[in-house]
Amino acid sequence: MIQLHNVHMSYQRDASALSGVTTKISKGEFVFLTGVSGAGKSTLMKLLYAALRPTSGQIIVDGVNITKLPSSQIPHLRRKVGVVFQDFKLLPNRTVLENVAITLEVLGWSRKDINKRVYHLLKQVGLEHKINSTPLRLSGGEQQRVAMARALVNEPKIILADEPTGNLDETSKDQAMDILKEANIRGSTVVVATHDRRLIESCHKRIIALDKGRIVEDADVS
């Protein structure tokens, strides 16, 4: 599903954010990407949804070499990839329903189908009663679940979650992880970037550890 071949990435003048990263993530896998802050986790995630282009190397996502992808094709890639952001990226002036519906509006779904699908998904994440609330009225954990609902609502082939449990309490962390595991069971390939060791150890999944932009460990502990 995801292949990286000798990927290098450096920001202007700075030292390499990633160097020589080569790995393969199969369809339906659940992978933790770990490492200390600045190890290159977020950079690698951004490369996977084409928010950044690598300095060199090849990245293949769902059979498409995205390093050579023209800008006009990027939206097609992103419709296959659901992204959960560390800062949630919810729109404060829109309701929970509207925030989650954005993903389906982009796909051109009808209003009736969108409402049905969003309600169904919010029920899954336990937020159907907050459907008309705005994000500012939700707790951090609830906001994170809305962000996850938005990433999952079109059942993407790949889910990328960048520090999805950062700043959450233990209960909210467990709820967030349960949602991602459920999506994985349904067939999505899930990549979670986190430095939370407790979370990684409790899940028993494949771990790719990064340090100073290099893969230093790739272990399957399932």
């Binding site: 949804y49 928010a51 800008s71 006009s72 990027i74 939206p75 097609h76 890639l77 992103r78 419709r79 992204v83 952001f85 990226k89 729109l91 002036n93 829109r94 954005i102 993903t103 509006e105 982009v106 796909l107 051109g108 779904w109 009808s110 209003r111 189908d113 699908r117 938005r150 079109n154 059942e155 349904r186 067939g187 999505s188």
Partner: protein, 314 residues
């Protein structure tokens, strides 16, 4: 539950160009409702900018009207030393009409000349005792086309006229025409300069106001890109919003202008000191209103387009 079963692709909302236009328009109106304060401020700013421009246009249109009235006085008089027969007058009038720039030619007989003279001396008719039509010359009053009512054109016209042997003398108030011509050039230059600066200011204000509106929603633009929206899908509602903002701004400006006109300017005698033939101000003619509305919509569209380019990264 398999992916395919749960997410059987539902039918698209509103297919076709018209369907998509309706969808984007709906989205634009919804966006305006959700960001009502920013939109009200934007429309108000555009309205103020266009109100200043339309007030200037109102003033300009009315000054043009006054000067056009003045320019009617630019006429040439051609005198004869003898009374002409009807046929001679007709042939001469025909000759003069053929000269480029002629608008109208009126024959003033000796009797008519005396009548006009005495009407000018109303109250002092005694001065004309003993004056007979025979001592006044008959003449032709020549009115010129609007484009020929300037100093250079009039003198070149008069040169052509002097080539006609039947005309003994040609007069046209050279000094007055020159002054009028200079005044018109100055007025046009001032109008162009002030108008030009005002248009630049309006473009600057509208473009930057819209840029600020879009900047306040850059997170939304970024998110749309991240969930897979195409560039056009992101841009379309914003462009429609820009058109609505520009158009509404001009509508508001014209409403205020209409109110000000109806209350204060309709019967204003501010121009009568310049020209007694003109009383009150006229409102902007409908082509001007249409152009202003079109400019508002166009500026809104272009302002949005330019700003979006900066904030959409895909």
């Amino acid at each position: 539950m398999s992916r395919d079963k749960t997410l059987k692709r539902p039918k698209m909302a509103r297919e076709g160009i018209w369907g998509r236009f309706c969808y984007f328009s709906e989205r634009a109106f919804l966006n305006i409702r959700q960001n009502i304060l920013v939109n009200v401020l934007t429309v108000a700013t555009i309205a103020i900018a266009f109100l200043i421009l339309s007030l200037f246009l109102l003033l300009y249109v009315n000054l043009e009207r006054v000067t056009e009235n003045w320019s009617d006085r630019v006429q040439v008089a051609a005198y004869f030393d003898r009374e002409l027969t009807k046929d001679e007058i007709a042939s001469l009038t025909g000759k003069i009409r053929k000269i480029e720039g002629t608008s109208d030619v009126v024959y003033v007989s000796r009797e008519e000349a005396l009548k006009r003279f005495s009407s000018r001396l109303k109250g002092q008719e005694a001065l004309l005792d003993g004056v007979t039509p025979a001592i006044l010359p008959s003449s032709l009053e020549i009115h010129l086309k609007k484009a020929f009512r300037n100093s250079d054109s009039v003198s070149s016209y008069v040169s052509s006229l002097r080539k006609i042997p039947e005309l003994t003398e040609v007069q046209y108030g050279e000094e007055w025409v020159k002054r009028f011509s200079d005044f018109m050039s100055l007025l046009r230059l001032a109008g162009t300069l002030v108008g030009g600066f005002l248009v630049l200011a309006v473009v600057f204000i509208v473009a930057n106001t819209i840029k600020l509106t879009i900047f306040s929603r850059k997170d939304e633009l970024e998110l749309m890109g991240l969930v897979g929206a195409s560039r056009f899908f992101i841009k379309a509602p914003f462009l429609i919003e820009g058109v609505i903002q520009g158009f509404s701004g001009v509508c508001l400006a014209l409403l205020i202008l209409t109110g000000v006109y109806a209350l204060f300017l309709h019967n204003s005698d501010m121009l009568s000191s310049f020209n007694t033939a003109v009383s009150g101000l006229v409102f902007l003619p409908s082509p001007y209103l249409a152009i202003l509305l079109a400019c508002g919509a166009m500026l809104g569209f272009l302002g949005s387009l330019a700003s979006l380019k900066r904030f959409i990264s895909i």
